[in-house]
Amino acid sequence: MTLDTYEVIALFAAVAAILMLGTTHLRLNLTFYCLHTLAIAAETAWISYLSGEPQHLIAAAGVLVKALGIPIFLGWIIRKLDVDSDVGTYLPAPLCMHLGIVMLGVSYLLSNQIPGVNGDDATFGATSAIGILFCGILLMLTRKVAISQIVGFLVIENGIYLFALTQTRGMPLIIEMGLLLEVLVAVMITGLLLFNIKKSFEHIDVTQLTELRDQ
């Protein structure tokens, strides 16, 4: 049995998300994130081609904002803050990547159990979407540097978006535009917040932010 093209593209997005888990180098992380988001934009464009709805606007906006804008902005922050890599993850990065693969297998089993998923047709889309969700969660749980947390959040958002896209074949334009704007604003605010955190604490290690300090 063959996979449809949109399922293959969704799987490609999941693969890119899993490869993101394997490195602690922040620039490489952003490159993989860019690849991953490009795959999701391609998925949107493909589904718009299948359904004939104007989803290609979302695809173009996704490429512009999420695949290019956000990585460039985060790259600029990385250069300004002078951090290269994530030191001291809770789980070694290679192990985390292999755990991500296990979670992709688990999400295949899960997607067969979800009542909303309509049969054979959408299983692989749902598998990749839930797999991407797990990858984002793993990224947020195991990393300590705040930039990785932002990337993890973005990956989770992509997972949710992909799930909605593959299950409903696209949401209304206005909702998706709103989501995109929200993500952009969230990243901007957290990015600017990072500057201030770095200025007052001299590090961006989220595990140490629970300690109070007098200024």
Partner: protein, 319 residues
């Protein structure tokens, strides 16, 4: 009927001639290409494209120095490895115009690679030099980490085709349509694996002679003359075969519809090897060699890609 049989015989003869010519010509030229591109990227003119041929000729005319501490194994290894690698090059469908040898099981291929590595390590230990032992220890560690990747990449294709015969898998027929992502992942996994197997840049520097960093060079340090020529040629052949195998995977990803024209396929497989050689040269000019303790993190990538291949192959099978 008779003319059909004659035509088929002629085709097989042409394929065999093609195989022999490519066995002699492609490996040194691939290495020459890599060296030339690296030189150009470093703003040097570089040695001519055919320099590996001249090197092999020079080495085979030189006298040989063999340590008196070594046994027969030290000299036999070069010949044993060359014959294993020639056998592999005849079995593995690394070019699309070579005769298809049905019955080349993927596990046979993997064990033949392991056998050649076993003899290399034995001869390194046999020479009694400290550096050779060092290199042998590293080589075995790398092999242990890399082997699952190459096994799973090939086995996932085998699962998708319900056959462990590599010639069935790489036959460009459309009997069992495999999604392009599986071919693509298997190809990139095999390419990353071959970077490690061939001791290329992120893991090992092929040009260095600094004892602390080298893996493959350390093992063959004691060889000279004809022996070294044989070992070098074996290494060139291994490079061509592994690059050819990943090229075939990526070609299949590009041609999932099945291309009937054999000429296009043959030229594409040669061009593919050239492109992968270019990729290696670019990687070696831009990347730095990894610290030995960081190497497992790099190897985790081919292993993860091969696990993904297996997952996709198995999930697709159950669908």
């Amino acid at each position: 009927m008779l003319s059909f049989a004659v035509g088929q015989a002629l085709q097989i003869v042409a394929q065999c001639v093609g195989l022999v010519v490519s066995l002699m010509v492609i490996p040194p030229i691939t290495v020459g290409t890599i060296r030339k591109i690296k030189a150009r990227l470093q703003n040097r003119i570089g040695a001519p494209l055919f320099q590996p041929f001249f090197d092999l000729r020079k080495l085979s005319m030189k006298g040989e120095t063999v340590s008196k501490e070594t046994s027969w194994l030290f000299r036999a290894t070069a010949v044993i490895n060359l014959s294993i690698m020639l056998l592999l090059a005849c079995l593995v469908p690394w070019l699309s115009f070579t005769p298809a040898v049905f019955g080349c099981d993927l596990f046979l291929i993997i064990y033949l690679f392991a056998l050649s590595r076993f003899f290399t390590v034995l001869s390194a230990l046999d020479s009694g030099s400290a550096f050779s032992g060092f290199g042998a220890s590293r080589e075995v560690t790398l092999a242990l980490l890399v082997e699952p990747a190459i096994v799973l990449c090939l086995a996932s294709l085998g699962v998708a085709f319900h056959s462990s015969d590599l010639c069935t898998v790489f036959s460009f027929t459309n009997t069992a349509p495999v999604p392009w992502i599986l071919w693509f992942l298997a190809g990139s996994g095999l390419f990353l694996t071959s970077l490690i197997e061939l001791s290329r840049m992120p893991v090992d520097d092929p040009t260095t002679h600094l004892e602390l960093t080298m893996v493959h060079e350390a093992m063959i340090l004691e060889n000279s003359g004809t022996n070294l020529a044989l070992i070098e040629y074996t290494h060139f052949l291994k490079l061509a075969v592994l690059l050819g195998l990943s090229t075939q995977c990526i070609l299949h990803a590009l041609m999932t519809r099945g291309i009937a024209d054999e000429l296009v396929r043959g030229v594409a497989s040669l061009v593919g090897i050239g492109i992968l050689a270019l990729t290696i040269a670019v990687i070696e000019s831009t990347a730095v060699k990894m610290r030995w303790s960081k190497v497992p993190e790099f190897i985790a990538y081919p292993v993860a890609i091969s696990l993904l291949c297996m997952l996709i192959a198995v999930l697709r099978w159950t669908k």
